[in-house]
């Protein structure tokens, strides 16, 4: 295998990635950007009565959710570092990461809505209280849900950064040096670990921010309605039957992208300008600040409880057709929602097969690239991957749709596969490149010195040592792929009924039991993938 690899190097090793992923992605983005010249669409957009309030809501929910998630993540990390629970925290974060956003939003919504579980526990009235929780005009419910849901993602990204290559050992040395200078555990985290960590969390934070400011499905469940967030305004316009409205929706997507980019650059600029202040803070003399153990514990418990409760609530919601106020438990009848789901297992099987294939091919293409290309070339590739995640998904999908239609991939399984691959491979490259490039080359040298062929050195030494990151990357690729709805609808012309396709179309009828049942069904495969990756990927010597 390695000899074939060498013969392919370096051009052919890069070809699958360039042809199947980078090229279609760049073309899609170009097609979307090209549509920016329609002046009439821009005029219609600027005259839209919801433009400014909706934009403000989007920026507010995105920023507030990102900052809240970051702050809570840092407190959790500061409080748990060096404790026995540190490694368990990593497993919990992975499990939380596996929960699909929409599934969480539905459960979280039922928890806090005026007729929801908390209201039933708190109120004894004949009808639900007039709480302004879900769909509050300020977007606070949406912000809270986004913040809670993104904490596992930020924790996972932080763990990946902290354990990368020699980073862990180096940071440990720095921490010990600081401790001998009289710094407390909290001060060490604040002044040694956090600055290095934040530098590594830049892109994950950008992804969280863009996701929060552009999310549509969660905003429809939890977000304000008059006006809604800007992404919802754009989504409605893109879904209109009038081409003029569609063009306005595209303009809205581009405007949102531009404003997000500006916001990110502004934050970047502010951080850069305040370097001196940061340095003064970082070099301030020894402080005995302790680690925030209690605060971190309370936050971790609340976040886990919210995530768990929201998902567990889907069970009674899916089982009972009706849950009349003010019952704490639903009547024990029904199960029709699960019967509907069980009656058509084909979408589940198609989704499982498709996402397994997408995940496997993503890993294969990524390893092929990493084995044959010099590390310097990763840079632009990672930029493209991050860019594709940082651009609102509505914009990427629109361009992809035009492209695939023109080359005859619309309505085809191959088109569906490539569209899924686009997102999955981006995540896989981001997750895998660090650990892969950080691999200590001396192991391979030793293996070769012991007369192992390049192929057997790769298969018997390198890949097994990289088992954990490879499995994590596969699980992420799988989880990202299996919840995709837009490719099946837009690119495959709805001809391939995937599980999310079934879930989204059925949920448009508004049956909560069915929506909850499908949300749970969409939660289980990624959860299983992460658990499996965690168990199989555990180092044998631990």
């Amino acid at each position: 295998m390695a000899r074939t690899l060498r013969r392919l190097t370096p051009l052919a090793g890069a070809l699958p990635l360039v042809l199947l992923w980078a090229l279609p992605l760049l073309l899609s983005l170009a097609i979307t950007a090209a549509s920016a010249s329609d002046t009439q669409a821009w005029r219609a957009l600027l005259a839209h009565p919801q433009l400014f309030p909706a934009l403000f809501l989007s920026m507010f929910t995105g920023l507030a959710a990102t900052l809240t998630a970051l702050l809570l993540t840092l407190i959790i990390l500061a409080g748990f570092q060096g404790t026995a629970l540190w490694h368990r925290l990593q497993a919990c974060a992975a499990a939380g990461l596996a929960v699909p956003h929409l599934a969480f939003a539905i459960g979280f919504g039922f928890l806090i809505m005026p007729s929801g579980l908390l209201a039933r526990l708190a109120s004894g009235d004949a009808s639900p209280p007039a709480w302004i929780t879900v769909q509050d005009p300020w977007g606070l419910s949406l912000t809270a849900a986004l913040a809670v849901k993104e904490i596992p993602f930020l924790l996972t990204a932080a763990f990946a950064a902290l354990f990368r290559g020699d980073a862990a050992r180096l940071m440990d040395q720095h921490a010990r040096a600081a401790a001998s200078l009289g710094h407390g555990k909290g001060s060490i985290f604040l002044r040694i670990i956090m600055p290095q960590l934040l530098a590594q969390l830049r892109w994950p934070l950008v992804i969280v921010f863009v996701y929060g400011a552009t999310v549509v499905d969660m905003a429809l469940v939890l977000g304000p309605t008059q006006p809604p967030t800007f992404a919802v305004v754009a989504w409605h316009a893109l879904n209109d039957v009038e081409p003029a409205a569609n063009r306005m929706g595209l303009a809205a997507t581009l405007l949102l992208t531009a404003i997000l980019a500006m916001a990110i650059l502004t934050v970047h600029g502010l951080l850069h300008a305040s370097r001196d202040m940061q340095r003064r803070f970082l070099t301030a003399g020894p402080s005995a600040l302790p680690a925030p153990r209690i605060g971190a514990g309370i936050i971790a418990v609340i976040i886990s409880a919210l995530l768990l409760l929201s998902i567990f609530l889907l069970l009674p919601l899916s089982a009972a057709p009706r849950w009349p106020w003010p019952g704490i438990l639903p009547p024990l009848t029904g199960g029709t929602a699960w019967a509907t789901l069980a009656a058509s297992p084909a979408p589940l099987l198609l989704s499982l097969g498709l996402s397994l294939a997408v995940s496997a091919v993503s890993i294969l293409i990524a390893v092929l690239w990493l084995e044959t290309q010099p590390e310097a070339r990763d840079r632009w590739l990672l930029w493209l991957a991050l860019l594709s995640l940082a651009v609102p998904q509505l914009a990427v999908a629109g361009g992809q749709y035009r492209l695939f239609l023109d080359v005859g991939l619309g309505g085809k399984l191959a088109g569906l596969f490539l569209a899924h691959l686009s997102l999955a491979l981006a995540y896989v490259m981001i997750v895998l490149s660090g650990p892969y490039r950080g691999f200590d080359g001396r192991y391979m040298k030793a293996a070769r010195a012991l007369h192992a062929s390049p192929a057997s050195a790769l298969i018997r030494v390198k890949l097994p040592l990289l088992k954990a990151p490879l499995l994590t990357a596969s699980a992420i690729g799988f989880a990202v792929s299996i919840v995709q709805y837009v490719p099946a609808q837009l690119i495959a012309a709805g001809r391939f009924a995937t599980l999310p396709m079934e879930a989204v179309t059925l949920s448009s009828g508004g049956s909560r039991p069915l929506t909850a049942a499908y949300a749970l069904a969409l939660t289980l495969p990624p959860l299983a993938a992460f658990l499996l990756a965690g168990i199989v990927g555990r180092p044998r010597w631990r």
């Binding site: 007729s115 639900p128 007039a130 769909q135 008059q226 009349p324 059925l506």
Partner: protein, 397 residues
């Protein structure tokens, strides 16, 4: 002599014409059925209801068995998805991915205007003769737009309200009654925000009940005419909104959510376009058996939903066979059955043979319409964008 013979010949020919026409049509139809055999029809239809999905699956079984046609239900969240797809495919000159589409109103008007539809075909379908075009004029006029045979009627719809009889003893049978109810029960009434289809219909119903000159509604309008004619409508909404859920500053984004809020006890009533949906929801256990439905005493807005064939359909012949079967007494009766779907028929049941009439069951069921009223045709299509824009401007932010 020659002349008279010719004249007689002509006269007899003229007398025969309808029969020749019928024979030709029968032959044509047989040819279409033959061509349809073995084709696959991608039927793009909203799929938000398991009952409707199951009904379409039944149609697929029958068509496979009797006509050798494979019917694939392409499940849509929103019909606009398929309209845009057809337009994009036609623009790109690509073969169509849609063979049959469940459609009406705005979507139909756009497709017809942009010449994205195959036809006229509806009048040529044998079962079209059974349709009650005089008693149910909306079967040939879709939101004030003549169908001209570019879509075949499938089912009837009429704006219907519903609530729980235990919490709402007397239903508001007019918009004025509704205002009184909202004043006594603040925060328990609302409607979906336009441009949601149901929300726009609610506002249209207000327009119909408040406008001074109803004759205006059948005619095209412009911004100035609309602003003047709709003033009583906005006066009414301004009076109503402060008493609505969240003081009329927020609205549920969809009918689906409003329905759920009724089931959860947050609201007193909800609305639907399928008069039998409340009965359906009682049957599936989503609403209590004490639920009942009503229509405003002066009549509520009603319309028809159809199936149409895109111009670039790959299985046009089979799509026509499907459309024809959907209009058959057998398929219509099953569709109208409350245990199956409960969608009212487009046929004139009284004109069917007794055996087929018997297929249409009727009777009082929990959740049924206790106060029925006549259907009022939709206002002319030009009113809709003006209503939606004005509503958004006033109440959207």
């Amino acid at each position: 002599m020659t002349f008279s013979l010719t004249r007689r010949a002509l006269a007899s020919l003229a007398a025969l014409a309808p029969f020749i026409g019928a024979a030709r049509a029968e032959e044509d139809w047989a040819a279409i059925e033959a061509q349809a055999k073995g084709q696959t029809v991608y039927f793009n239809a909203w799929a938000g209801s398991p009952q409707i999905n199951a009904y379409i699956a039944w149609v697929a079984e029958v068509l496979k068995e009797r006509h050798g046609i494979t019917l694939e239900h392409v499940k849509l969240q929103d019909t606009g998805e398929a309209v845009r797809r057809v337009r994009d495919e036609v623009t790109a000159g690509k073969p169509g991915s849609v063979d049959l589409i469940w459609i009406n109103g705005e979507n139909f008007r756009v497709m017809k205007q942009e010449k994205l539809l195959f036809g006229p075909f509806a009048g040529r379908l044998p079962n079209f003769a059974l349709v009650d075009v005089s008693g149910k004029p909306t079967t040939i006029i879709d939101f004030a737009e003549p169908t001209d045979g570019f879509e075949a009627p499938w089912g009837m719809a009429q704006l219907t309200f519903f609530g729980d009889g235990q919490k709402l003893a007397t239903p508001p049978l007019s918009m004025m009654d509704l205002l009184q109810l909202a004043k006594t029960q603040p925060g328990r009434i609302t409607y979906p925000a336009p441009p949601d289809f149901h929300g726009t219909t609610f506002v249209k119903q207000v327009l119909v009940e408040t406008i001074r000159d109803k004759a205006l509604l059948d005619r095209p309008t412009d911004k100035a005419g609309f602003t003047d004619a709709a003033k009583p409508m906005f006066d009414y909404l301004d009076a109503l909104h402060p008493h609505l859920w969240r003081e009329g500053k927020q609205f549920p984004p969809s009918q689906a959510q409003q329905k759920q809020m009724l089931a959860d006890g947050e609201l007193l009533m909800a609305l639907t376009f399928n008069p039998n949906e409340p009965a359906n929801l009682v049957a599936s256990g989503e609403l209590p058996a004490t639920t009942f439905a009503w229509q405003n005493s002066g009549g509520t807005i009603g319309n028809t939903h159809f199936v149409a064939i895109p111009i670039n359909a790959q299985a046009g012949a089979a799509a026509q066979v499907v459309a024809n079967f959907l209009m058959s007494a057998e398929a219509q009766a099953r569709k109208a059955d409350l245990d199956i779907w409960g969608d009212p028929t487009v046929l004139d049941v009284k004109k069917l043979p007794p055996a087929e009439q018997a297929l249409f069951k009727s009777g009082d069921v929990p959740g049924g319409v206790r106060f029925p009223a006549d259907a009022i045709p939709e206002p002319h299509g030009s009113w809709v964008p003006l209503i939606e824009a004005a509503w958004l401007e006033r109440f959207g932010a």
